[in-house]
C-alpha cells in the first residue's frame, strides 16, 4: 500500500488514538492480522441487534431497529387509492428512505445524503422481488379502492450497514402492521369504522374484516460485508466503511433463497469464493435476525 514504512516505526511510540487517525488503514490492518476488529468483534460477527415494535403511535405499523449504534425507525401509514386499470385488485407499497440531518455529521439541511435515494431503491427492489407481500391482500374493492402502504424509514443514527438495519426495520414494521377496519360509504369513499362502534351498530358492512394483518411469506434479511484483501468483515461500522471501500450486500429470504445481491464497485474484486463466504455469513445472520424478529413479535402478543 502507499503508506510509508515510517508509520510502522512511529506506531510503537505514538498514542493509539493518534495512530488511528493518522494511519487508519494501517491501524485496521494490524487488527485484522490478529483476526479481531477495533471494537473487539471477530471478523464475521455482526453487532448486537435489537428490535422494538410499535414505536410510533400515529402510524398503523412501526418498528425501531438497532444494529450497534445504527438506528432505524420505520413506520407505515395506510391510505386509500384507486388501483390502476392493469391491476384492479392490487394495492401498492411506496417505500421511502430518509436520512435527516440529525443522523450524521455529513448530512445538512437542504443537502440530502447521496446514499438515501440509493438505499430507497434497493429497499423497494428487495421487498418487491422477495414476494414477501401479496399485493392482492391490499385490495379493498376491486377496481375502485385499494390500500397504498406508505413505508417511511428514518435513519436516526448512521453508523454503517444502513441497508441491513433499514431492511430489518421495514420487515418488522410490516409484521407489526394492523390495518384499520373500513367500509365503503354512499359517496364511494372509504371510511374508518371506529372500534367502539364495533358490534353495537354498524351502518355499513366493513369490507376488510378478515384482512387486518398481512400474511408475510418469505421475509428477506440482509448482511453487508466489507471485502478487504483476503478479509471479509461482516456488518461494518461507519468508520470501517469509510476506510475500506468494497462493500457487498447479500439479501436472503427466510428459506435461504437469494433475493438480492449488491456490489457497488470498490477496488477489490469479488471472487466466487469470497461471494460464497459472504452468502454463508448471511445465511447464519438470517437465522439470528429471524429469531430476533420472532421474539419481538411474540413479545408484542403477550402485551
Amino acid at each position: 500500500m502507499g503508506v510509508p514504512d515510517a508509520s510502522g516505526d512511529l506506531s510503537s511510540e505514538m498514542e493509539v488514538d493518534a495512530f488511528r487517525r493518522l494511519f487508519p488503514l494501517r491501524y485496521f490492518e494490524r487488527h485484522l492480522s490478529e483476526s479481531v476488529r477495533p471494537d473487539a468483534r471477530p471478523l464475521g460477527r455482526a453487532r448486537d441487534t435489537t428490535l422494538a415494535l410499535g414505536a410510533v403511535a400515529s402510524a398503523h405499523g412501526s418498528a425501531l431497529a438497532k444494529i450497534g449504534s445504527t438506528t432505524m425507525l420505520a413506520a407505515i401509514k395506510m391510505e386509500v387509492m384507486t388501483p390502476s386499470t392493469e391491476s384492479p385488485d392490487e394495492g401498492c407499497i411506496a417505500i421511502d428512505f430518509h436520512m435527516p440531518p440529525i443522523c450524521s455529521p455529513i448530512v445538512r439541511p437542504g443537502r440530502p445524503a447521496e446514499a438515501a435515494p440509493v438505499i430507497s431503491k434497493q429497499l423497494s427492489d428487495t421487498i418487491s422481488s422477495s414476494g414477501m407481500i401479496n399485493l392482492k391482500e391490499l385490495s379493498l374493492v376491486s377496481g375502485k379502492a385499494a390500500w397504498i402502504a406508505y413505508l417511511d424509514i428514518y435513519c436516526l443514527d448512521a453508523d454503517g450497514a444502513l441497508f441491513d438495519a433499514a431492511l430489518l426495520s421495514a420487515v418488522a414494521a410490516f409484521s407489526h402492521l394492523q390495518i384499520p377496519i373500513v367500509s365503503l360509504n354512499d359517496d364511494g369513499k372509504i371510511v374508518v369504522i371506529l372500534e367502539e362502534d364495533d358490534g353495537t351498530k354498524l351502518e355499513k358492512e366493513p369490507v376488510n374484516r378478515e384482512k387486518r394483518k398481512l400474511t408475510l411469506s418469505s421475509i428477506p434479511f440482509s448482511l453487508t460485508c466489507i471485502l478487504h484483501k483476503n478479509y471479509i468483515l461482516a456488518d461494518p461500522t461507519a468508520e470501517e466503511e469509510s476506510i475500506m471501500e468494497t462493500l457487498v450486500t447479500v439479501g436472503l429470504d427466510s428459506s435461504s433463497r437469494l433475493v438480492s445481491f449488491y456490489k457497488p464497485g470498490g477496488p477489490v474484486l469479488a471472487y466466487t469464493s469470497a461471494v460464497q463466504d459472504c452468502v454463508a455469513l448471511t445465511r447464519q445472520r438470517v437465522k439470528e435476525l429471524q429469531e430476533i424478529l420472532d421474539e419481538a413479535i411474540s413479545g408484542m402478543e403477550i402485551d
Partner: protein, 255 residues
C-alpha cells in the same frame, strides 16, 4: 408495484362522524382533559442524552405522545460563504417525519419552528466561546403529540449541554393553551386544535430570564399574568428534571 412515479391521489380514511368534540364551553369548568390530567398538570417528561452516537451531543425527549430527537454537531467550520465573525454561529433546523402527524406529511410549519428554536436558544449560549465556527442544532419530531415546539426547545438545550457547548443556563420551554375561560398547561394535539389562544415561554430558570415569549389570541392582563406565572413555575420544575437527567448521564459515564 412499489412505484412512486405517477402516484395516484390518495387519502387517509377518516371516521364517518366528523364533528367537533363537545369538550368545552364557556361555562363548563368540570370538563375533563382527554388524557385525564388536571388543567395545571404537565405530562410526565422523559429525557435521555446521548441518543445519537455520531453527533457531538444529542438528546431524546418524550412527553406523552410527543417524541423528538435533537442532535448537535460542532462547533465546526462555518460555510465558506459566511463572512468572518468573532462570535460563533448557531444554526437550527426542525423537521418532521412524514408519519409524525395524524394525516401523513402535514408537519409543515417547521420553517417557522426553526427560527423560533434559534431565537429561544441563542440568548443562552455563550457564542463568544467558539468564534469563526458554527454549532448546528438539528431536531426531528418523530411523533407530534402537541406542544411540539417547547419540547423541541427543552430537548435541544439538553443536547447542547451533552455536546459540551457553553451555556449560561439550560433553556426550558412550556406552553399554555387558553380554551374558553380555562388555562391548560402543556396541551396535547387535540387541545391545540381547538385553542382560543396560546402562550409559549422559554426561559433560563436559574437566571430567571425569559429567552423567548410568543403569544397569540386575545388575552386580558390578569389572564396573561396568570398564564405567565403558570409557565414560569412549570419551566423551573422542568429544568430540575433536565438537570437530573444530565447528572445521571454524568455519573453513569464516571462509573
Amino acid at each position: 408495484m412499489a412505484s412512486k412515479g405517477a402516484a395516484p391521489s390518495t387519502y387517509t380514511p377518516t371516521p364517518t362522524k366528523k364533528t367537533r368534540p363537545p369538550i368545552f364551553s364557556d361555562s363548563d369548568v368540570d370538563w375533563l382533559r382527554p388524557d385525564g390530567r388536571g388543567f395545571h398538570q404537565c405530562r410526565p417528561a422523559f429525557f435521555r442524552t446521548g441518543a445519537v452516537n455520531s453527533a457531538a451531543g444529542s438528546a431524546y425527549a418524550e412527553f406523552g405522545n410527543t417524541k423528538v430527537i435533537v442532535s448537535v454537531f460542532g462547533p465546526r467550520e462555518s460555510k465558506k460563504a459566511m463572512m468572518y465573525s468573532d462570535v460563533g454561529r448557531l444554526n437550527c433546523n426542525v423537521s418532521y417525519t412524514t408519519f409524525a402527524t395524524p394525516v401523513r406529511g402535514q408537519g409543515s410549519d417547521n420553517k417557522e419552528f426553526s427560527s423560533m428554536l434559534h431565537k429561544a436558544l441563542e440568548g443562552a449560549i455563550m457564542l463568544e466561546t467558539f468564534p469563526k465556527t458554527t454549532v448546528d442544532v438539528f431536531a426531528l419530531v418523530l411523533e407530534s403529540g402537541g406542544s411540539d415546539l417547547p419540547v423541541v426547545i427543552s430537548c435541544a438545550s439538553l443536547a447542547l449541554a451533552d455536546a459540551g457547548i457553553m451555556m449560561y443556563d439550560l433553556v426550558a420551554g412550556v406552553s399554555v393553551s387558553c380554551l374558553g375561560r380555562n388555562l391548560i398547561i402543556d396541551p396535547i394535539l387535540e387541545e391545540e386544535t381547538f385553542q382560543d389562544g396560546s402562550l409559549i415561554i422559554t426561559c433560563m430558570p436559574s437566571r430567571y430570564e425569559v429567552t423567548q415569549l410568543t403569544i397569540s389570541g386575545e388575552w386580558s392582563t390578569a389572564k396573561l399574568n396568570e398564564a405567565m406565572e403558570l409557565c414560569l413555575d412549570a419551566c423551573s420544575k422542568l429544568a430540575k428534571i433536565m438537570r437530573s437527567c444530565l447528572k445521571e448521564a454524568a455519573s453513569a459515564s464516571q462509573d
